[in-house]
Subunit: 354 residues, 2 copies
């Protein structure tokens, strides 16, 4: 099978980590029967400055018609609002209906405090619909934004969370070391204040997870978002799959990343029907760009995650294992993890272990 | 001076901690020249079940006309939406225009990783305006909520944050042990997605803090909310005063509470012009109610915080010192802190140190 993968490096360290993602895909053992073709695509702040748009139509149309998946690096955003600029990854998620943002956060199994959770974030609505307006009043400006929650999006994201919980359980049953006993989905919301919007998210997620496929197989709990952040830090080992509306998912996944030591370890996949974009959770990190010291692991894991959602689980497992072996050994680590290794050294160490 | 204080115990452990708040006020040394009168007031889930409203008009009107301040315990909320029920504390904040929610989060100075920050949360708008509607569509229900950010509210909350930063600096200059060098306000927002609403918050806060009173005295930084949560956990000692719109403030303060070991330590004050309601950050904790083991410290500190905002700083300082002495010694701690002491024992130990 040949997979055509779009590569959107973007800005800053995006340009340093996306090539690493490409190399690990190319280095996968031939026995897997996978071939890759890569297409470089433009997006981001540099693209905006060159072309007047942060997400050229061409990028979207090539992804739609010519690609099976993609890797997205990171983009810089202007420090003050710039007319016409808006985040290309937020736009891509909506244009390609990549309705789930899946963010696994885990330590190595031997960590003093092992964590192994996945945050499943709704990726198309909530405050990210970006419907805003501002009015002038005698007391000054007043701005409003719409937070939109639909039954349809809430239902499919909850079902995705349920599927992921089942899949993780299957991998555990096959003997993978794990800190969890049973599949658990924790629904996060703020329905004590937002009874209609978050209330709809909560009720719909509960309903989806009470269906025949999950009812007897997946335990369901819920946490109000503020309390979820508190618990995330007090007892992270208690969580397996967390499902949340867009903005809470954004916040929770950065919080969870803090627990494993660095955003540089945390991958994500933006997932739709038959399409996935792997994307490291970190940003373009202008402070370290050009130094060759960015941690490539979030991107390598994002490439694996993309493969998982393109049904290439065996290939994904190889990448995860190689990354874990590098981390377990702990000898070649990038500076964000307290090491001294350059991006290139980390990549070579991981390729060697493939 | 005689202060008239409303006592709204509410539900669950609210009934166990509010009496402790009353006792510490009564126990303040006579040399301070303060007298207190207390008025018990109703609100909460039990009140709703008895009277059909969670916040009786009488409670609001007595607070408005007869009280200088109040202590609010905690209220339980129904586990599914109940017609007519809505959170009394959210309503009180708006009805009394208590525009700032001030949440100091600190460890004892001798802690292995000392933290000393204040989260200053806007308390009247954002998604808490609770303007929601739901429509039926061919694809299912779609619910929308309004997030409202005004220049007026953003400006006054930023000014409050600036004042608090200056006040903290004054206390440090007077020789109090501290982990901070200079006053710093960190503005939290998500203007990379919400350019109008959070963009207005950010720009207005920057403007307020660039005014003559703060310009040369207070350093200003900003953090996107997801990154703020990440940083909060990675380098909490870097933050002094954090100012945020309502919902981010809610989430951040629970996150910060996790860092100091227990929500049972964290006080808050809901502050308006000349009025303040002290409120522990924890909830009604049905799991431990009636056992006499609730940590009273959040409430005792909330009583002190209320006094601070009623310009009784000397009295507040006495309470803080007594609480800190109990924690520094670490012999009589409630179970949430790993101890075995009952609420009553903790209260007596602290009263003894007043
Ligand atoms: C850059 C920003 C728009 C984005 C988001 O909020 O989704 C980022 O924080 C992320 O989590 O991918
Ligand atoms: C109970 C709830 C409505 C409240 C809030 O969200 O403000 C609580 O979480 C708090 O922080 O005081």
């Amino acid at each position: 099978r040949t997979l055509r993968i779009g590569l959107i490096a973007g800005d800053g360290i995006g340009k340093e980590v996306i090539p690493a993602g490409r190399r690990i895909l190319e280095a996968l053992p031939a026995s897997l029967g996978l071939k890759f073709e890569f297409i470089d695509l433009k997006a981001g702040w540099e693209t905006f400055q060159q072309t007047g748009t942060a997400l050229p139509d061409e990028t979207v149309s090539i992804l739609k018609s010519d690609c099976d998946g993609a890797l997205f690096g990171a983009v810089s955003s202007p420090t003050t609002a710039v007319k016409g600029y808006s985040s290309p990854i937020v736009a891509l998620r909506k244009k390609l209906d990549l309705y789930a943002n899946v963010r696994p956060v885990k330590t190595v199994v031997s960590a003093p405090r092992p964590i192994d959770m996945v945050i499943v974030r709704e990726n198309t609505e909530d405050l990210y619909v970006k419907e805003e307006r501002t009015v002038d009043t005698p007391e000054g400006k007043v701005a409003e934004a719409v937070k939109r929650i639909s039954q349809r999006a809430s239902s499919r994201i909850a079902a995705m969370a349920g599927e992921i919980a089942l899949r993780r359980q299957k991998i555990r049953a096959a003997g993978a070391p794990s800190i969890h006993r049973g599949p658990l989905v924790t629904i996060t919301h703020k329905s004590n204040v937002l009874s209609q919007t978050d209330g709809l998210f909560r009720a719909t997620a509960r309903e989806a997870l009470a269906g025949p496929r999950f009812r007897d197989a997946v335990a369901v709990e819920e946490q109000i978002v503020d309390s979820m952040v508190y618990k995330l830090f007090r007892q992270p080992e208690a969580y397996d799959v967390i499902v949340a509306p867009n903005l809470y998912g954004d916040i929770l996944s950065d919080g969870a990343a803090a627990l494993v030591g660095s955003l540089g370890l945390v991958p994500s996949a933006n997932v739709g029907e038959g399409f996935a974009i792997g994307e490291p959770c970190h940003g373009s990190a202008p402070d370290i760009q050009g130094q060759g010291i960015a941690n490539p692991i979030a991107t390598l894991r994002s490439a694996a995650l993309m493969l998982e959602f393109l049904n290439e689980e065996a290939a994904a497992a190889k990448i995860y294992a190689a990354v874990d072996a590098n981390l377990e050994e702990g000898k070649l680590l990038s500076p964000d993890l307290g090491g001294k290794a350059k991006t290139e050294e980390v990549v070579q160490d991981i390729l060697r272990r493939l």
